[in-house]
Amino acid sequence: MSVLMSLFSRKERRLREAGWGWTLFAGIISLIYFFPVLWIIMTAFKTRADALATPPVFFFTPTLDNFVAVFYRVAQTGSGEAIGTGMGGFFFNSIFVASAGVFLALIIGTLASYGFSRYPLKGNDTYLFVVLTTRMLPPIIVIIPIFLMFRMAGLSGSYIGVILLYAAFNLPFSIWMMKSFFDELSPDVEDSARMDGSSEFGVFFKMCIPQLKAGLAATAVFAVILTWNEFLFALLLTSTDTRTVPVAMARTIGGEIGVEWGLLAAIITLFLIPVFGVTYLLQNHLLRGVTFGTIKK
């Protein structure tokens, strides 16, 4: 009752505070915006006939066949046995490669941003610019040289290669973002710890890192979002064993049959879950993250 009342009562004169009325409004707008995703998720539960039905169907009998098909297919030899599609392994690869790449970028990036923030060098701006430029590169420029380098180093097709590449890919972003977080930290705390007898390692790991948990989380979310769906490097630098989901996903868009709508939608849906979850959990840090520290309290 009180919910209903507040819906219609004169709104509180607090800025930026709105009631359930606004929830309704924003909910409708957001659902419209979300609709394509909703459609994809619905498609994951549809048979092919429902997926392509004209006029489109919104109410249908959901099927889990597509989700089964993500992981199993019927053998080609006609023996009728079910064969694993390896998709489970691709999911593992995606998670492993993305988290390891992001983790590595965060470690190296955090150290570097600490350096940039606390021990400014001459020409700091130049270094930071170079760092940023590498982020802005059209990736196509470096594909062939990287491919060659990896072959020479024996890294192509291995996990290490892709992880290193994703780490480098996320590094500029991590440095810029973490630097802005470091800039907001009071150096007094670090000096205090030094006076209390901390070593430099102690200062960094026991003082800075715990305080920057939120910042690290925000950076991680962004890096994960950017890495999670990476396609080109993953295609060229992985082999059957180390292939990631975005690449494997492509097999549903043209083999014997055009697009395996239900299957593709099922993979997209499953693949969305981890990154959606991470984003939801760390949502509060995201806003801070996108500002690149340009907003000071």
């Binding site: 004209t54 030899t77 072959r151 020479m152 024996g154 060229l236 082999s239 059957t240 549903t252």
Partner: protein, 476 residues
């Protein structure tokens, strides 16, 4: 460039050196791994699965065939990157027929003549392979006697049609009344179908939603015919070239380089006429053709969802049409030969562009690996394996299999496919083919989407090819 290269090598040297010592140490047991790049689809999965099940190397070596299954849409990118960067990862590669020239000239694909010459078994196989396949999948330069590949999955376009409509007595009578032609139903009726009939079919089956269709009414707007008209890959070219060839036009003849010309040949009046013919019939196709996105899967989808009566599409993507899970008309689908141009003598010219993929061996393999790879080739090209392959949705490359009486029963399109093989030609195999194909696809697309006339498009193609081929010295 050279120096940078070596710096990088030096940098990587320690790592690589470690890896190499392990890898190149003389193996006690002969484990031989054949890495094979292949698109991720049925015909390749069959190869892998059947190999795992049945293959035993005669040499006693422990031979493993390890497929790198790459999704079709990215297959070319991955293979091209691997080859041009010198990754040297694959011992065998499934190559699209047109790629051959590029990678042979790049030194990636291995010439097999000396092995064939030395091996009567291989000679027998080569003899048994359908000549359209040796010509289009194996030889380079075109029409030479240098052999490189073997058919993995030979493919042709066939006509897919709806039994319930084309063999419907009422519809047949109506068609007869309207056009004084036979609405094709039986194999032979289709065999006698030319583009005029095909166009009339398009006209005839254009039904609005709610109109009568067969035994019922059309639930949606319905169209009579469709064939490829897509900018992606080689889609429109595969159909348009058939028209051009049938009308007596031609593509630039690589076999006659440097004496052949593009201008005047490619945009000959016959070629323009052929293209125009294609465009005239295209207007009966579903509206997606206006976007230039009517690719092989678009027409397959339209057919399986019951939006179109008959299509011309690859046999390779036909199996789903028989699967009731994905096709609404799995039990009502028939296959037949493609229409062609009726010549003055009453016969029908069905010249068409071949599809499918050969597989090749790569140049960096050791003699031992090559030997084992050729053993695998022999196994694959053996009659038993080819029969088993055809029974499970594949197409054999061997005439001996195709000539078996039961072959026609393996799959409903087999008869048409085998009979159509004799008409197949292919586009150029030269390394410039990608540029030529891309530009040709763009120009075709402009005409298909109404930005240009057929003549303007053909002229632009000819001009571009003339310049390009002159620049690389293939035209004098």
């Amino acid at each position: 460039m050279k120096s940078k290269f070596s710096i990088a090598s030096a940098l990587a040297a320690t790592v690589v050196a470690g890896a190499l010592t392990v890898a190149s140490a003389p193996a006690v047991s002969k484990d031989i791994v054949l890495n094979m790049a292949g698109p991720d689809w049925g015909p390749t999965r069959f190869l892998q699965e059947y190999f795992n099940k049945t293959y035993k190397a005669k040499s006693g070596n422990n031979v493993k065939l390890v497929f790198d299954f790459i999704p079709w849409p990215s297959f070319y990118d991955r293979v091209a990157a691997s080859l041009t960067s010198g990754e040297k990862k694959y011992q065998m590669i499934i190559s699209d027929s047109q790629w051959i020239g590029t990678f042979i000239e790049g030194g990636h694909f291995m010439k097999l003549n000396k092995y064939i010459d030395a091996d009567p078994e291989l000679q027998a196989i080569m003899k048994d392979i359908h000549p359209a396949m040796t010509e289009n999948y194996s030889t380079y330069p075109h029409k030479s006697k240098n052999y490189y590949g073997f058919p993995q999955f030979p493919d042709t376009k066939v006509t897919w049609f709806r039994n319930d409509l084309f063999c419907h007595d009422g519809e047949r009578a109506d068609f007869k009344a309207k056009f004084n032609q036979v609405l094709p139903c039986s194999y032979d009726e289709w065999k006698n179908t030319d583009w005029d009939v095909w166009a009339n079919v398009g006209k005839f089956f254009r039904r609005d939603k709610g109109a009568k269709l067969g035994d019922g009414v059309a639930e949606h707007d319905f169209y009579g015919v469709a064939y490829q008209a897509g900018k992606v890959g080689d889609f429109s070219s595969m159909q348009i070239l058939a028209f051009i060839w049938q009308h007596g036009g031609d593509i630039w003849d690589e076999a006659n380089a440097p004496n052949a010309q593009a201008e005047g040949v490619v945009n000959s009046a016959a070629a323009v006429k052929g293209f125009q013919h294609y465009l005239d019939i295209l207007k009966y196709a579903p509206p997606v053709h206006k976007t230039g996105q009517m690719g092989i899967f678009a027409i397959q989808e339209l057919f399986m969802q019951g939006k179109v009566g008959a299509i011309i599409d690859w046999a390779g993507v036909a199996p789903p049409a028989l699967d009731p899970k994905v096709s609404k008309f799995a039990d009502k689908t028939g296959f037949a030969m493609t229409p062609g141009l009726r010549k003055s003598d009453g016969s029908i010219d069905r010249t068409d562009n071949i599809g499918g993929q050969p597989f090749v061996l790569t140049t960096w393999n050791s003699e031992e690996v090559t030997k084992e790879a050729l053993e695998v080739v022999k196994w694959w090209m053996s009659k038993d394996v080819q029969i088993e392959f055809s029974k499970n949705g594949g197409e054999p490359g061997l005439m001996s299999v195709m000539n078996m009486p039961e072959y026609n029963d393996f799959l409903p399109w087999n008869r048409a496919h085998a009979e159509l093989l004799q008409y197949q030609k292919d586009v150029w195999h030269t390394p410039e083919m990608f540029e030529m194909l891309t530009q040709q696809q763009e120009e075709f697309d402009k005409a298909i989407t109404g930005q240009k006339t057929a003549k303007e498009a053909m002229d632009a193609i000819a001009k571009f090819q003339q310049e390009l081929l002159t620049e690389v010295g293939k035209i004098k």
